[in-house]
Symmetry: C2
């Protein structure tokens, strides 16, 4: 018999308890032992919860309870759960967490503190999709050439609706909030930070890279508008918020931002709140993993799979797949400036002669060659919309060009930029 305690009994925690109860016989047969949730710790005991777990507001009591084998951390936040998980490990307990923010900052600390104790974190990335396990075990033969993930359901829902129904960003954000797909303060999701946390976790398993959110390029979907959606459709692209890890030589790129991506690619076909991660390995080629990236039951499914695996096997390998630093190669996170991409730019300009030529000259001066330029009329006859796509250039070149373009008097607005992912 294995005893589990849950710290933080919200939607996911209640669902973990429900799964272990509803599928008790099946899970016992798979795990080889009976698994029981014996305690839950919460901050506020007076809150209404739909659960039969015995609750306490004394976390320390739970963490020092010798009868507890596995502590499931579902508190949210960074500092407080870090203390809790440290204490659980110090007291010899296995840990399962769904906390991506905790791992984005402290995964290597935790791996070190854990030593031989197992830490499961399948639920921290892409909810119910077993992507951690796929990367750590299923693809272990491969150099990971790239990871491209749609890992934020809120953004994907909004972009899908904008594209399929022509709804405006603001209207769809409001709808997503009403449906519970977006938070009252949506910055963490639509700003790309949630996806960035998940990307950092995957990058550790693939590359042993110890980067933090502030080390990488993160842009959200706030500036996408109807013109971009139209341009995308016209040229056979979808617009997606992708979290991207790419290896070239010993350089690793990590970045989260909206992209234009060809509709024919599998990952471009993932719509609505669903998540998906495409991984290219040097021998296996592309594999893709698709499923529900959020929601209490899907996330809890991943939490319980970690519990089952700990009961079956204990820790089968270092938490992050291999030890830090990466023992086989010195891999270097490349600076944002050196990232190469093709770019799409949208500019509102005064509709007078010479503007287009000046902008083209700025691009040329920065050694950026243009693939497509479209000029469109707007409601205001004095204002034109310029849409253009570049060939490959570096981030620092496009940034420089954009700042020079934005300094032009003819510019009515900031330049809006989306990277094109081939």
């Amino acid at each position: 018999m294995v005893n589990v305690a849950i710290i933080g009994v919200g939607t996911v925690g209640q669902s973990v308890a429900k799964i272990l109860e509803d599928n008790k016989t099946l899970i016992s047969a798979r795990a080889g032992k009976e698994i029981n949730v014996v305690k839950g710790a919460v901050r506020d005991l007076s809150k209404k919860r739909n659960t039969t777990i015995a609750l306490t507001d004394n976390i320390d009591e739970v963490l020092s309870d010798d009868s507890i084998d596995i502590v499931v951390e579902l508190m949210g936040g960074v500092d407080e759960p870090f203390k809790v998980v440290k204490k659980a490990l110090t007291n010899g307990k296995a840990v399962v967490t769904a906390n991506k923010a905790l791992l984005a900052y402290h995964r290597y600390d935790l791996q070190e503190i854990a030593g031989a104790l197992p830490i499961g974190y399948e639920a921290s990335v892409a909810g119910g999709i077993p992507i951690i396990n796929a990367l750590k075990v299923g693809l272990s033969a491969n150099q990971i050439m790239s990871i491209k993930g749609i890992m934020n359901g809120t953004c994907n829902y909004m972009l899908t609706k904008m594209s399929q129904e022509g709804v405006s960003f603001d209207a769809i954000l409001k709808e997503a909030q009403e449906l519970g797909y977006a938070e009252a303060d949506p910055t963490f999701d639509i700003g790309g930070f949630d996806a960035a946390h998940k990307l950092l976790i995957l990058a550790s398993i693939a590359y042993g890279i110890d980067a933090k959110p502030e080390d990488i390029l993160i842009e959200g979907i706030e500036n996408i508008n109807g013109h971009d959606i139209e341009f995308a459709k016209e040229f056979g692209y979808s617009i997606k918020l992708l979290a991207i890890a790419k290896k070239s030589g010993n350089n690793i790129e990590l970045r989260v931002h909206p992209v234009l991506i060809k509709e024919s690619q599998m990952i471009a076909k993932i719509d609505g709140v669903m998540n998906g991660v495409s991984v290219i390995g040097d021998f296996v080629g592309e594999t893709l993993y698709y499923g529900a990236g959020a929601g209490g039951d899907a996330t809890a499914s991943a939490v319980v799979s970690d519990i089952v695996e700990i009961v079956r096997a204990g820790q089968s390998s270092p938490m992050l797949g291999f030890k830090k630093p990466h023992e086989s190669q010195i891999l270097k996170l490349i600076s944002t400036d050196e990232i190469e991409s093709e770019y799409y730019l949208r500019m509102r300009v005064q509709d007078k002669s010479g503007v287009l030529a000046t902008i083209a000259q700025i691009c040329a001066d920065n050694e950026i060659s243009l693939e497509t330029i479209l000029q469109k009329t707007t409601d205001d006859k004095n204002i034109a919309m310029l849409l253009c796509a570049t060939h490959l250039c570096k981030e620092k070149q496009i940034k420089q060009a954009i700042s020079e373009i934005e300094a032009l008097e003819a510019l009515e607005d900031k330049v809006s930029m989306i990277r094109i992912e081939e």
Copy 2:
């Protein structure tokens, strides 16, 4: 240091050796130990091979070599590899196999013989896609409600081409053979047997069901023609060869056959030689796994991931995820006759009055209600093509109706039937 021997050094075996060599440092870092391929056993030493492995034609010598830790079985066939794997296990060696036919017949025998010794078989289903691991570990919290897999690249390539380019079955088979996507004798692939072997392996992990190929419904794609493709397009369907496992209550359906499936479903979007498996769990909902289902490198990627996992962890759980018989429930494989589906029928009939009415009456007599009937002209003005889709009925009802229809004098040909998967 871990020593590996490969029995059967063909395309996959050579690729296994190449991966372990090319990615040696990386794989050592992940596995925690150096892994070396020290021997290969082959039937015919005179065959040309692109490998530096020391080869022998004395399999027994390899199997009794005390320096070998892991035996990789890549021979093909059933009886001979069963003997080889048994002997390897009896001699205390861990085993990795890519042999789906061996597992379709002997997986429970092997699980019993192995005891605590690890057997890896990720490569046996869907090549490089880590679907075994996903089912065994990632989804272990769930009752598996259904598995639907496109697990034969040959069939999917042919159906995709027929649909996208209007090529005939015979022409595309010839092309597939020339491209190396189909064998000289393609029966094993296009008859559905290859997919059936894979389905049986997945069904064991999901349900603990010990069925053999002869226990389940297996139909191939031989009878699909242009009329079916056209009908599918007209009604928004794709035609795919699906391997299906479905749970309803304690009944399990296992079947492999072509289906009409709505184009909007994720699995319907998997085209060409690619494979994909959709799994629905009671808590996680749908997850889908996509990638290369065949080819030396993709298959070898899965073989090597098993080797790495054995080196890391040993056997972390019973080979098939849980012991036979399923300990939590008595699950029953339902007989083919009791399977329920909607059906599409194609009939070449003499174009004279009363034929359609007679066929409709036969359906009514068998309590089959029709959803759609289309009559199309053919090149021969005396012959009409009838295409119809039914509502839900049982396999035994449709079989009975088809045999009665085929007994009609007006029938020019056998009735062609495809199940509709909703």
